[in-house]
């Protein structure tokens, strides 16, 4: 029995949608991170408790996913629940022109929790309007990816013991990368120092920078990674996302702008951690995998306990 479950119920997480990290206070995020830590032995398979037995998760992936979808499914299965859904919308009534709203109403009647990934921004917010069951956003276009953000925060806190005292570099596609939009906001909520490194055409949108500033954090913007890495505690690398570019010519101009390799990391602090939401393409050389800096696979694993925590809290069923 968790001693924190009583407090979490009093915070009214049951039935709560998870659409954007901005829908949560710092206090609530801290609770989720604490809860996630308690889920670690269940995620690793060291403990087993089927407290989500009888619950059904609708897993609606309108866009490709490996980690997010599999970690949600792993989380639900390990806690005794069942998963229905699809990972390719071509086999659904969407192809016949069904609206997202109608698809959601149907999934709502078949399940207790809905997870959705969709290529259009705001899709999860719309889904939450039409569903009674809690909706968990697994990525909406270039919009939000709150469960990724929570697992990123959990990874930083678990490794560094705190979030606020870190100098974090966000690197790569800061314009279209939804994970960095959510993360820049959340790190600002904790007061971490932010350095933004990207090609000029892929800078963080002004709306996101303004939100950081409103939280008291003024991010440093640069294109010089070699200089910035010397003072960094966390290097958060993102892929230049070909699928978000309006045309191939623009993509070709910036792909391969930055590459993390052991030569670059010679200038970094010994305890610098390198994170990446994955998949990576060319931005991190595989030689980095063997170094103590590489944390991205552990980070990917942390998706399971984080999503266990969210499934448990939003369904209102705790161990």
């Amino acid at each position: 029995m968790f001693c924190i479950s009583f407090f979490l119920i009093s915070m009214d997480f049951k039935g709560r949608d998870v659409i954007s990290i901005k829908d949560f206070t710092k206090k609530e995020i801290n609770y989720i991170l604490e809860y996630t830590k308690k889920m670690l032995p269940y995620a690793k398979g060291e403990k087993y408790k089927d407290f989500l037995k009888g619950k059904v998760l609708s897993s609606l992936f309108f866009e490709p996913s490996t980690r997010t979808r599999l970690s949600f499914e792993s989380a639900m299965n390990r806690l005794g629940g069942k998963v229905i859904g699809f990972s390719d919308p071509s086999g659904t009534s969407q192809k016949k022109g069904e609206s997202l709203a109608d698809t959601i109403k149907m999934a709502d009647s078949y399940s207790d929790i809905i997870v959705i990934r969709h290529p259009q921004e705001g899709a999860a917010r719309l889904a939450a309007e039409f569903a009674e069951a809690p909706v968990l956003n697994a990525g909406d276009g270039a919009g939000h990816h709150p469960t990724q953000c929570l697992l990123d925060l959990f990874t930083i806190k678990n490794e560094k013991k705190n979030i606020e005292k870190n100098n974090v570099i966000l690197l790569g596609d800061l314009r279209y990368g939804r994970t960095v939009h959510s993360l820049a906001y959340a790190l600002s909520l904790y007061g971490a120092d932010l350095t933004l490194v990207s090609p000029n055409s892929l800078k963080l949108p002004k709306e996101v920078i303004n939100e950081c500033k409103n939280l008291g954090v003024d991010p440093v913007q640069t294109t010089n990674l070699e200089k910035a890495i010397k003072d960094a505690d966390v290097l958060y690398v993102t892929r230049i996302q070909k699928e978000r570019f309006p045309d191939a010519e623009e993509y070709n101009k910036v792909v391969g702008s930055y590459k993390i390799n052991n030569e670059l990391l010679k200038n970094a602090k010994k305890n610098l951690i390198v994170m990446h939401p994955l998949p990576r393409v060319v931005e991190i050389d595989p030689e980095v995998d063997k170094t103590s800096h590489a944390l991205y696979f552990k980070q990917a694993f942390n998706g399971v306990p984080t999503r266990m925590a969210l499934l448990s809290l939003s369904s209102g069923v705790t161990p």
Partner: protein, 151 residues
């Protein structure tokens, strides 16, 4: 010297004054005039005033509701509403930008779900009243060309 009226006085109805020059037609569009109304409507554009050029709209035999008029606040934030009864000004008030607007402005983000074929209206939260800044409820984009995006 007697002031010359560009358009005649109305006996009953609503006069919307101090509309930013060039925006009268958009104001009528937002208010659903004349589509949703059979009222006689007079429009004066580029009328000289102490505060620069302005547009004026006069709608006969229809008293426009306060809440309805607030919809025009984003493109005509300085507009004043005069309710006319028997040639006299019975009520006068300024428009106020509401906290949220629905179905008036389309989102500037082509991949926003509110621009897809879904059974929802566009929704924006008002972030700033002066200058007007609005944020899409769905995708959180802040369109810069508000007056161009009137539905």
């Amino acid at each position: 010297m007697k002031k010359e009226l560009k358009i005649p006085r109305i006996k009953n109805g609503t006069v919307i004054d101090h509309i930013k020059a060039g925006n009268a037609i958009k104001v009528l569009h937002i208010l659903g005039i004349p589509k949703k109304s059979t009222s006689v409507v007079s429009v004066a554009m580029n009328v000289k005033s102490k505060l620069g050029n302005k547009d004026i709209v006069k709608v006969e035999n229809r008293e426009i509701e306060h809440s309805e008029v607030n919809k025009i606040a984003l493109i005509a934030p300085k507009a004043t509403i005069n309710i006319i009864r028997n040639y006299e000004v019975a009520k006068k008030y300024k428009v106020e930008i509401p906290d949220e607007i629905e179905g008036i402005v389309s989102c500037s983000n082509p991949t926003c779900i509110s621009n897809a074929n879904e059974p929802v209206k566009s929704r924006f939260k008002i972030i700033s009243r002066d200058p007007p800044i609005i944020r899409c409820y769905y995708c959180e984009r802040e369109p810069e060309d508000i007056s161009e995006r009137i539905i």
